[in-house]
Amino acid sequence: MKKVRVRFSKKGKIRFISHRDIARIWERSLRKAQIQLAYSEGFSPRPKISFGLALPTGNESEAEYLDLELVNDIQENSDALADLKEKINKALPKGIEVQNVAEKELGADSLQQVVIQCTWQFDLSDYTINQAKKWAEEILGSLEIIVERERKGKVVVEDLRKQVISIEVIGETDAGVRIQADLGTQPRTLRPSELLAASNPPIKARNVCRMNQWMLQGEERIEPLTITDTPAPSAHMAEVIRRELNHVRPNGQASESGLNQQRIIRSTTKT
């Protein structure tokens, strides 16, 4: 086995480090851990590390991924993988922690291609449970949420609604009302902050955390790599919170709560 998939979390102060910087930290940490990585050929050889979807700066995550290609075969037994995990964790800065390392098939599609949606949690501060529910209903009840973005000097019109798979109000926290949302990533990742900025009035979220990333295996959505030995965080969270709403529905269907279908149009800033 030469290709391995790594699942890691990003929490605490380090969440303010950008995706690009995190990539550099990984390269440096793997060198420091003396992991023998395969290098690309050519004029300026780079270690073979493929990163998954970018995580917005300032957001935490329970489920980040990257794939590594090693020089040497690694025996398919838990000891060698556990050893690899420990070595990498020792070299990583505080706040980034490898949760699992597992074999990956050679030639399997890249993380950025296979992941279709992510589960997010965030808190709406200054909102009551009822206001949060109303907000969720409004989004789910709308036919489309059109935003205009400026991208490389051109105005791009996008419908965010297609990317909203589900929104649940899952309970109250110190920072407000906790929301769990499944948002699509293809062709472009919808970030919680973008969805909130497109609300009327725009809202700011606190404690944004990516809980899961999902890919399809047949009809079923599965995680690119689970955390073995520990329960998946979304399942864990479900026990603590009161389930208030469950609005999973296919695109554009009318809302059960009878809200009028509406078209929400917002302009957001440059991306």
Binding site: K13, I17, R24, R28, T57, G58, P93, G95, R206
Partner: protein
């Protein structure tokens, strides 16, 4: 001992690059506080990305934290968006290590490496809620102490600082800590008592302890106010770098910064004697680190940090006498993996290119040389004695070994410079491209030109800086010449910034009001083109009745008192004056490390010597001049580790 992190955390989503404010670097220290300990906040008053790699700050950070009686944290100037977030939310300027308010520290130490950051110093003090004027500070306010190359002329900021340190900081930082510790632990007597005591530490200049004496508009002298205050403050010099293998744990930032690699200082000082170069003059004599220690610092540093690039830093690394030994053993050390080594300041000769080729086996980037002037006459004036032969053989060697891009640094607005000298810059670039064509299909040469600003403690300290109009004219001349030259790219520094730098560089105490006025009008981050505004400086000069001609553009006379005459970098003023006269005659002076002593004062005055890593002078001759080198007994040299 409070931390503002809980209040700050929620605000970081509202600023650009929040990574600047979180700390968490590999190598960062969480200090163990105690009420008796002296606490330092070491601040680099520019952005985090520029300030973090600063070696001087990191060295002091470690030394202070190693002492049982002191602790140190770090801070960097908050960018303008963060400054307004702090003001809106009534939060103070803070440390990045544990996010403590700056005002809670005993000493605020500022590293001043460039004049244009002075307004940021005021911004940091104001955000910290510390009075910007030393006379307004009470006994419980922090002491404001500055160090770094700019503090060789601290007069423009005399109103704002409590003390300035001249020279190497490794030893004096402990002397200051001990004095502050005694004062603090005996109940913090008056502000004046601590200032007077600080003024007696060698290398520490306390502006409060000196009164400027003027006759009409002219400065006559700086008169000591107290019997114990020395008339002249001498710089501090660490005699052997081998005693100071710092930083031991170089900080590895989480976000990208400038010079983002392992940095190992191979020597301090420079004896080439370039007459425009303040760094070369004030850091004499040359003190090389033993080659063995350099090797250890590289291999341990690479292992600890995970960096795959190491930079051997100094003012002229190819002049390090242990260079071949270090390079060879570093590249052979398999533990270091795919390590690339960079030399930030290359000497211009074929030998150097050979080393560079060896070093950049893995990744070959551009090559950078600094001939500084286009004509041989001009290079004799500035004493950068690079012959045409050496230059073109270096260029030949570079192109033949596979480089396609080359960068050349020049100054314009130098003493005695004619338009022919200026244009020679582009002629030189064109010839380099020509040489390149014999080896490469499309060689390119980037010419980068800066306007010359005379600095204190150099032979050019008497020179009247070119006016902004004149510098601008020369830049236009160069731009026009470069336009018609294939393969030559032309870049230049903003000539307006040179004016502001010139005001401060050789200013006296009266310039303090100007700096304050510029800051009050919002002129922070003047090093940054998006914030720099010359009009603010011009208006402030006018408001206080000070003229650019008096401070910047006129030639100064031998008789007049310079604002830094009561400070000393060891250099005899008559040596500098002789050098200035020789410059005007275009007479060069050879490197003193391998030839007999010219008695500039830097060694003899302090009873110290050059310290070298190898008994063999570097191959290729000194300065790339090919000048014969015959070490004799009369040369004041000792070998590092073993004094002879």
């Amino acid at each position: 001992m409070s931390s503002i992190w809980p209040q700050l955390e929620g605000l970081l989503d509202d600023v650009q690059k929040p990574a600047r404010y979180i700390g968490c670097e590999d190598g960062a220290i969480t200090p163990k506080y105690h009420a008796d300990k002296v606490s330092w906040l070491l601040t680099y008053p520019d952005t985090y990305e520029v300030g973090l790699p600063n070696q001087g700050l990191q060295i002091l950070y470690e030394i202070i934290n190693e002492r049982p009686d002191s602790v140190a944290e770090r801070a960097y100037a908050p960018w303008t968006d963060m400054a307004s977030v702090l003001r809106t939310n009534k939060l103070p300027f803070f440390s990045v290590d544990t996010h403590r308010p700056a005002k809670e520290f005993d000493v605020l130490g500022f590293n001043l490496s460039a004049e244009l950051v002075y307004t940021n110093l005021l911004e940091c003090l104001d955000l910290a809620d510390v009075p910007i004027h030393t006379e307004k500070r009470a006994a419980e306010d922090p002491l404001v102490i500055v160090g770094g190359h700019c503090t060789y002329n601290p007069e423009p900021i005399a109103d704002f600082i409590d003390a300035a340190v001249l020279g190497d900081g490794e030893e004096v930082v402990s002397d200051i800590t001990e004095v502050v510790s005694r004062w603090k632990n005996s109940g913090r007597a008056s502000r004046e008592s601590i200032l007077r005591e600080l003024a007696t530490i060698p290398g520490v200049y306390v502006p409060y302890a000196y009164t400027p004496v003027y006759e009409k508009e002219d400065l006559i002298c700086m008169s000591p106010r107290f019997p114990e205050t020395p008339e002249v403050v001498e710089k501090r010099t660490v005699s052997d770098l081998a005693d100071w293998p710092y930083p031991k744990n170089q900080l590895v930032p989480l976000t990208e910064v400038v010079h983002d690699r392992l940095n190992v200082e191979v020597f301090r000082g420079c004896t080439r004697g370039c007459r425009f170069c303040q760094a070369g003059m004030i850091t004499r004599p040359v003190r090389e680190r033993p080659a063995e220690q350099v090797r250890t610092m590289i291999s341990e540093g690479v292992r600890r940090t995970g960096y795959d690039e190491v930079s051997l830093t100094s003012l002229s690394t190819a002049d390090f006498s242990g260079i071949e030994e270090v390079v060879k053993s570093t590249l052979d050390d398999s533990d270091c993996g795919q390590l690339s080594v960079s030399l930030p300041s290359l000497r211009v000769d074929a030998f150097t290119v050979g080393i560079a080729a060896e070093l950049q086996r893995a990744r070959r980037t551009g090559l950078t040389f600094a001939p500084e002037a286009g004509s041989w006459r001009m290079r004799q004036v500035i004493n950068k004695l690079i012959s045409e032969d050496d230059l073109y053989s270096a260029v030949e060697s570079a192109y033949s070994q596979g480089w396609r891009r080359m960068k050349l640094y020049f100054l314009t607005g130098l003493p005695t410079e004619t338009d022919e000298d200026t244009k020679a810059i582009i002629d030189m670039a064109k010839k380099c491209v020509e040489v390149g064509r014999t080896h490469q299909k499309s060689p390119s040469v980037t010419v980068s030109v800066g306007g010359f600003v005379p600095k204190p403690f150099t032979p050019f300290q008497w020179f009247g800086q070119n006016t902004e109009q004149e510098l601008h004219r020369k830049i236009r001349l160069l731009r026009d010449e470069a336009k018609s030259s294939r393969g030559v790219q032309f870049k230049w520094h903003d000539t307006r910034a040179s004016v502001a730098e010139g005001i401060i560089s050789r200013g006296d105490r009266r310039i303090g009001a100007v700096i304050e006025e510029v800051w009050r009008k919002g002129g922070v981050f003047q090093e940054w083109s998006e914030h720099f505004n010359l009009q603010l400086w011009v208006d402030a000069m006018e408001k206080y009745g000070l003229s650019l001609d008096q401070y910047v553009y006129r030639h100064r006379t031998e008789q007049e008192t310079l604002p830094w005459d009561h400070l000393s970098a060891g250099l005899h003023k008559d040596f500098l004056w002789q050098e200035w006269r020789d410059a005007l005659e275009a007479v060069g002076l050879e490197d003193c490390r391998w030839t007999p002593c010219y008695d500039c004062g830097a060694c003899t005055g302090y009873g110290i010597e050059h310290v070298v890593a190898s008994a063999q002078p570097p191959a290729g001759g000194s300065q790339g001049t090919g000048q014969p080198i015959f070490p004799t007994e009369s040369i004041p040299v000792s070998f590092s580790g073993i004094k002879i």
